[in-house]
């Protein structure tokens, strides 16, 4: 992307690609593409060297190549499972069709496929869980932050509570959340699994705080002049919040949201391990319990996937932040 824009910039400046422009372009490509590649290569090399020297009870610590093999296996397993599922449904449909042919009034049963969740399914579950938890956190944190930012007295009331709960680890919350969900969420036909809710609420509880704190700071530090403009115009509270407070605090709110999402994603893995929500956390836990010679490779693959997804989530938030921020001059990274 950056290289392309560098090219277009370079050609825009003058009709000809002059030597100095070319140098600039090379320099830019070097910075944006080559250097990260060098970093990754060095990392892989060191990893391989270290892996060769570590022998665990489950065999040698996996190097890049083993992890790559395991990743491929995980994908293959997923595809095999999908084929099985498709075949299952096809068989079931045929059977039902035959039944209906004989007797149009017959009741046909449609059973859901109950195969093993694959790695890809588990990624999807994790993403869904974190999205749900993050959404709850946002819906609570942003309004709470705005109220505390607007009113000094509310802030003074709420601040001790925020400061107390902010440093609490997800593992401490989990047993409580589990019990509360079990007690309150009783339904014969549950839309959500209990483990899903437990994980999501734990995520929400932990990723609430960065957004709350940053929103408070953003709202409390609105330019006095802008507040005075609002007072002179006699804007109502709702309009004041909509027209002045939110736009002005949006950069800080997004800083908080980004931190929250990163925290949430980190917390999720631990929560899933303990709550047995069928996501990446459970995958790692199961592999660990499994203890086959491939386990470490598979866990390492999961670790990398977790890292890459975290990176992608943050990039998405950054893009969103750039899109909604009015201050185009601000440097966001």
């Amino acid at each position: 992307m950056k290289a392309i824009s560098a090219i277009s910039k370079a050609t825009q400046g003058s009709e000809l690609l002059t030597v100095s422009n070319l140098c600039l372009l090379i320099n830019k490509t070097l910075k944006t593409l080559t250097l990260p590649a060098v970093g990754i290569l060095v990392f892989l090399l060191l990893w391989q060297l270290m892996a060769n020297n570590i022998i665990t009870s489950l065999g040698q610590f996996p190097g890049p190549s083993q992890v790559w093999e395991q990743s491929k296996t995980l994908v293959v397993e997923h595809q095999r499972e999908r084929k099985k599922e498709a075949a299952f449904y096809e068989r079931q449909e045929k059977r039902n069709a035959k039944k209906l042919e004989k007797n149009p009034d017959a009741t046909v049963k449609i059973r859901a496929y109950t195969g093993k969740a694959t790695f890809v399914d588990q990624i999807a579950t994790s993403l869904l869980t974190v999205a749900f938890g993050f959404m709850i956190a946002t819906l609570v944190a942003v309004p709470l932050g705005i109220i505390c930012g607007l009113s000094e007295s509310v802030y003074r009331c709420v601040n001790p509570i925020i400061q107390t709960f902010k440093p609490v680890s997800p593992l401490a919350w989990l047993p409580l959340v589990t019990m509360v969900v079990s007690a309150l969420y009783v339904s014969n036909d549950p839309i959500f699994e209990k483990a899903f809710l437990t994980s999501a609420f734990t995520v929400a509880l932990c990723c609430l705080w960065p957004t709350v704190v940053n929103t408070i700071v953003g709202v409390a530090s609105i330019d006095r002049d802008l507040i005075n403009v609002s007072r002179v115009l006699q804007l109502g509270t709702a309009t004041h919040i909509r027209k002045i407070v939110i736009p002005s605090a949006i950069p800080m709110i997004f800083t908080g949201l980004r931190l929250s999402l990163a925290t949430g994603w980190m917390v999720l893995i631990a929560a899933e391990m303990l709550a047995q929500n069928p996501g990446l956390g459970k995958f790692i836990w199961d592999e660990f319990q499994n203890g086959s010679s491939n386990s470490l490779g598979r866990i390492m693959a999961a670790v990398l996937v977790i890292g890459v997804i975290g990176f992608i989530l943050d990039s998405l938030m950054l893009t969103l932040q750039k899109r909604v921020s009015w201050d185009k001059q601000a440097i966001l990274r």
């Binding site: 002049d225 002179v232 006699q234 009015w326």
Partner: protein, 270 residues
């Protein structure tokens, strides 16, 4: 012409500070007629902005009060529009939207959608900003931002136009240009204006009366100078005018002889 359109009577204010309260103003009295252009001049920190903020309703006077058209001022409102020292445009709204927000607040019920649009555009063309309707404040020069700030206030059709050093941050050329625009607009619309300035020439050129403030703490109004120059006024012609120069001298004498330095006043008082 009503003599007491705006009446500031016995206004004083104390600010709460860490130690004992700080008395910024004491016994400020001033009556302003409708359509009058008043300049407030005085040394930095004497309390000019504080007077303006009290009239705007943004500060509450500790004693005394302000009466506008027979009604006491107790809160800020769109009938007393403020042009802030550093424009105070909402950075996330375009030029048009900034003015539109103010217009919608004031004329929501009385103007239709198209009328609102025409009115916004009309006011922006008054300050010659109709070419940049859809730019963000960050994309404008300092003078352009200040003009939009003025347009926003004019568009509210306020009873009083309160300006806190509206041209303070501008270069001399832009300032002269905006002063001329402001004179023209005020002549046309007959606004009642209080303007804070540090610039003696500006004060004499624009004002009907110049209010000179004594140094703080407990600042008050020192002298009021009536400027009887015919309008429209032309800065180039007035530059050689003896009456104009006489007025200038009177203001300068007040500022640099009578109110030379806050320290001397204290010594005299003691």
């Amino acid at each position: 012409m009503k003599k007491n359109y705006l009446e500031i009577s016995q206004v004083g204010i104390e600010f709460a500070t860490e130690g004992e309260p700080f008395r910024a103003l004491q016994n400020v009295n001033l009556a302003i007629a409708k359509g009058e252009f008043i300049s407030l001049i005085g040394h930095s920190g004497c309390g000019k902005s504080t007077v303006l903020n009290i009239v705007a309703g943004l500060y509450e006077a500790t004693e005394g009060g302000v009466i506008l058209e027979g009604r006491e001022v107790d809160e800020p409102g769109p009938d007393r529009a403020v042009v802030f020292q550093n424009h105070a445009l909402l950075p996330w709204l375009t030029v048009y939207q900034n003015v539109e927000l103010a217009v919608k607040c004031v004329f929501k019920k009385s103007k239709s959608k198209t009328e609102i649009r025409d009115w916004v555009e009309h006011n922006l063309s008054l300050v010659h900003m109709d070419h940049a309707l859809h730019k963000l404040p960050a994309e404008l020069s300092g003078g352009m931002k200040q003009r939009v700030g003025i347009a926003r206030c004019l568009a509210m059709q306020p009873k009083m136009l309160l300006m806190d050093e509206p041209f303070g941050a501008l270069d001399a050329l832009t300032r002269a240009h905006l002063q001329d625009s402001l004179m023209e607009i005020q002549q046309q619309l007959g606004n009642t204006v209080i303007m804070i300035t540090h610039d003696v020439d500006e004060a004499v050129l624009l004002s009907d009366r110049i209010v000179m403030m004594t140094n703080g703490p407990a600042a008050s109004i020192g002298e009021v100078l009536r400027i009887d120059l015919p309008r429209p006024r032309d800065r180039v012609i007035l530059a050689d005018d003896s009456a104009f120069n006489n007025y200038r001298q009177q203001v300068l004498r007040f500022l640099y002889e009578k109110q030379k330095n806050p320290a001397t006043k204290k010594i005299q008082a003691a």
